[in-house]
Symmetry: C2
Subunit: 345 residues, 2 copies
DNA sequence: TTGAAAGCGCTAACAA
DNA sequence: TTGTTAGCGCTTTCAA
């Protein structure tokens, strides 16, 4: 170990094994060792063997930070999610991560916690790491973050929404189309007194708007709209249902409720049943997200399903293609949605 | 822009603004610009102003990859989780991330997908990034991954479990103590015919073992033990309850079931009620994890609560302290647990 | 308080 | 197929 061959080791050095150490042990130049490790096809079998052995003997783990700096390819993809807790995005993140990992990429996850300032700081921190690509849940509104992102030149994919003005690539679906479809669905089932229970959220807002518009167009009565604010728990769903029932009593009752998440729907359902209302007999309920377990509850929840895994996988592929310098066409993909009809509506 | 001042720009260069550009614009040396940005107290007000202006004008975002290589401090913490979907670890990860972010660190997340090989690859990929610390959910068993981790010298914190032989730091609780406590709890309530429904999982196994031991010690009948395998969904909970009831019919019934997760408990509860059994009247149910929404269901789930956020926050602080070269004592912290008594048991 | 020089660990470019 | 050289963008060391 204690060889004093390096002439000027004045500085730090983490003490870890470097490519130099491996190369020395294998009796080749560092660059040759590098090739033996990264592009084994480019070196002779003999060199390959010697380097492999040196790697095994030393327990060398390549420093990807240094490699990334030298090659301007970090093999890192950053993702921004609003929250990791009981989130409808989990399936997407899991697929994104799995696809990236299998291709030798890594995921850096950042939470924006539904806060614009935090999102902006996060974006700056992410750009500082020079990832090969950035995954965004949702669409980034105009602002400093968007400008910086654009300036960075890093490939970006926005998801879970649609817009005519994406930053770069876009994989999503139309929230308005969902609101419209659910309203028609409930109307076709004969429900006439419709209501919304939703979190304070831009995307949920657009679903709600389209829902109301469709009902109005069909000649229905005004839709009762309960906004639960930023907190999206089962409890807030229960509370919302309480308020909803109060309001509805004045206007003749409710037949069906469209909730902005499955968790909220579960809360609404729980409250309804706690008050002796039958689901779907007295009131029908539709959720959003198709979280894994709602299919096996009693009654099974009717909900809107987004293929989150598809979004994650496609996003990973687009980002990696762009990191390889390939063009990606089309830039915008609509993955659609489906209404999964089960027992609750 | 097109200044041809740099003499030998033969190579790549991502084209992005660098510290050099900022320094040139501000009329100072790069190192001075660096100090103005990172340790503003060390430079004159005049320099600070000029550099700030140059940064603003150019939209400079420091390259943390280069900084990390030069300083051997990445300000990156890596975390390994088994899964991100509906996981009991979410709260921990969220707290970990929030605490790190506020201190200027970033989180790199890796999923082991409950697979040992994948975990090993993941560990190697993580070490290659030279993070300042590594967060592990669970305890890493002896093996190549553990050896490499030890050799890397990177601070590590293992969590959600206890062991006399941690790699480095440890923040967790005793699964055996939980199994024991839940058995005593149910026994004290007068339940005598006890059962377990659990996923194939080492930690759940140890809770189960202690549960059985406590029942045996109290003189109870053998505990029926249903193993649902690796799949941990509400569906598998329902199926498990079906099997359990079948087995129990031969031995005189069941009074109470301890499940290895809240989701499984929800499945067991769903199936029980679907078969006309009252909860907790006919059968009591205890979950594990205290996932946010189980408190507001009807009946509210009695479960074991772990303060996951505390684990995440403490882990972040320990890791950052070690990255700063501080010693952390004690190395092992037991955060305990509590049985949250609600309606289901 | 400011700067020059060196180098973190690796890979691109070019040459042999 | 292998090696030499330079340098990615930053920070440490040391000197002024």
């Amino acid at each position: 170990m204690a060889d004093k061959d390096s002439p000027k080791r004045s500085r730090r050095g983490s003490g870890a094994i470097t490519l130099r150490d491996v190369a020395k042990l294998a009796g080749v130049a560092p660059i040759t060792a590098s090739r033996a490790i990264n592009t084994p096809g480019q070196v002779s079998a003999d060199v390959r063997r010697k380097v492999d052995e040196a790697v095994a003997r030393t327990g060398y783990v390549p420093n990807r930070v240094a490699g990334g700096l030298a090659s301007a390819r970090s093999r890192l993809i950053a993702a921004v999610v609003p929250s990791t807790v009981v989130s409808v995005f989990n399936e997407t993140i899991e697929a994104l991560n799995a696809t990236l990992f299998d291709a030798g990429y890594q995921l850096m996850l950042g939470q924006s916690s539904y806060s614009p300032e935090r999102e902006e700081q996060l974006l700056e921190a992410i750009i500082g790491r020079r990832p090969d690509g950035i995954f965004l849940t949702g669409i980034l509104p105009p602002g400093k973050g968007r400008t910086r992102l654009l300036a960075s030149g890093i490939p970006v994919v926005e998801t879970w929404d649609l817009t005519p003005t994406p930053i770069d690539m876009l994989i999503g679906f139309s929230h308005a189309a969902i609101g419209d479809a659910v309203a028609r669905f409930l109307w076709a089932k004969g429900h006439r007194r419709l209501a919304l229970v939703r979190a304070e959220d831009d995307r949920a807002g657009r679903r709600a708007q389209a829902f109301q518009a469709a009902v109005a167009q069909a000649g229905g009565a005004p839709v009762i709209d309960i906004n639960v604010g930023a907190v999206r728990t089962l409890r807030s769903g229960r509370d919302a249902m309480g308020r909803l029932l109060e309001q509805a009593a004045a206007s003749g009752g409710v037949d069906a409720v469209f909730c902005s998440s499955d968790l909220l729907a579960l809360g609404v359902m729980t409250e309804a049943r706690a008050r002796g209302l039958a689901v779907p007999g007295d009131v029908a309920i539709v959720g959003f997200g198709d979280v894994p377990f709602v299919s096996d509850m009693v009654p099974a929840l009717t909900t809107v399903r987004i293929n989150g895994a598809e979004i994650g996988e496609r996003a990973a592929r687009c980002l990696m293609a762009r990191a390889d310098g390939q063009a990606v066409e089309p830039r915008t993909v609509d993955v659609g949605f489906s209404i999964i009809e089960r027992d609750s509506a």
